[in-house]
Subunit: 245 residues, 2 copies
Amino acid sequence: MQKLYVVGLGPGGREYMTGEARAALEEAELLCGYTVYIDLIRADYPDKEVLATPMTQEIERCRMAVEAAESGKTVAMVCSGDAGVYGMAGLIYETAGENSPVEIVVVPGITAALSGAAVLGAPLIHDFAVISLSDLLTPWETIEKRLRAAGEADFCICLYNPSSKKRADYLKRACGILLESRDPQNACGWVKNIGREGQESRVMTLSELMEEKVDMFTTVFIGNSSTRVMGGKLVTPRGYENKRK
Amino acid sequence: MQKLYVVGLGPGGREYMTGEARAALEEAELLCGYTVYIDLIRADYPDKEVLATPMTQEIERCRMAVEAAESGKTVAMVCSGDAGVYGMAGLIYETAGENSPVEIVVVPGITAALSGAAVLGAPLIHDFAVISLSDLLTPWETIEKRLRAAGEADFCICLYNPSSKKRADYLKRACGILLESRDPQNACGWVKNIGREGQESRVMTLSELMEEKVDMFTTVFIGNSSTRVMGGKLVTPRGYENKRK
């Protein structure tokens, strides 16, 4: 049976890939993916066949990957971060369908919630929610409902796709919703270009976050009511201090 | 300045570690951690000094790691999964305090939400919440509130620590709360011993999950209202099917 690996590359450079991901790329005869991610790995596999498609061509990209696997090739579809978090794993299963002869293997990677949290300190140590602010595929009402729920239940929160040209004010709107239940001083932060050239990060309050200008390469973190700033890092306690007393 | 790495090992075997994690272990002079995790890596570093402490000794373990780093050693504190998700990263910052001379570097790893999701298919493709059912450090009322919020806002949900000897009925209680807002047919699954010997997984409905017996080495997944079972895998659509129409 031909294998179709759906591989999470992690945040950027090859040092963030797992051994399992590297083995899948090694085994594959054809590497598929969005042009930018293919370019990250291309130099390491100069002799492999490559199929790079532009952004927003996700459906076409998955169809080509599944067809190549069905025709007998071992294929690796690459995604940044984790293949199973806003990645291609779901669409690959949907494209292959119930009775596909292809064996689909999802290879997890370090998603931006984890790599960004590590840069900022330890903001997601406790229960957390991951929410994308992109309304390309999700109605804004659903996004608002999830923001409100995560705010009220005091989750740590990680926001993906906080902004784009067409959605310049979405982070501001999200912060407004969180401020219905959260203190304006709630500790927050963002990381830009995680694990890549030009990595930047900042720690701030929720009311300051509301005025931040971020781009589509930024991941945003909102602590819970216990999260503190310590030596410039965001630290969410797990509750050991109560045990210590 | 001495470095204290807090390293996520991923789910088990060394193939799940990132290159960054391996480099940190290589550089460290002293490896610290819970006995079980130290045993996973000890054989690869036979000449390194090792400091293994039993479970529930987290405060003592972090104190020893910080003191060793302050005394001039390069230290790696290892955690299973990700150091920043119910891991030691937060407690290391708290133990070191504001003015520590030690540089703390968090090295992310594949947490069970990601590695378990990959085994089951693609359950966490869309917005998701991660909740621990352990009430050792968190009041049960807080856990209930978060379960209710995540259920009502139609998050995909991943449950850590779903059971222990003292908390044999916690998963049942959690399912009961989710059933207030979710369909009994809501697609669910669990994975046990992820990435280790004896890995097992099962896909089922929410009402079936309520009757499952799981242990502390199990991670539980509850899809959102769109999650389907396809060829035995849990698949959460991202919304491309609407785009396709």
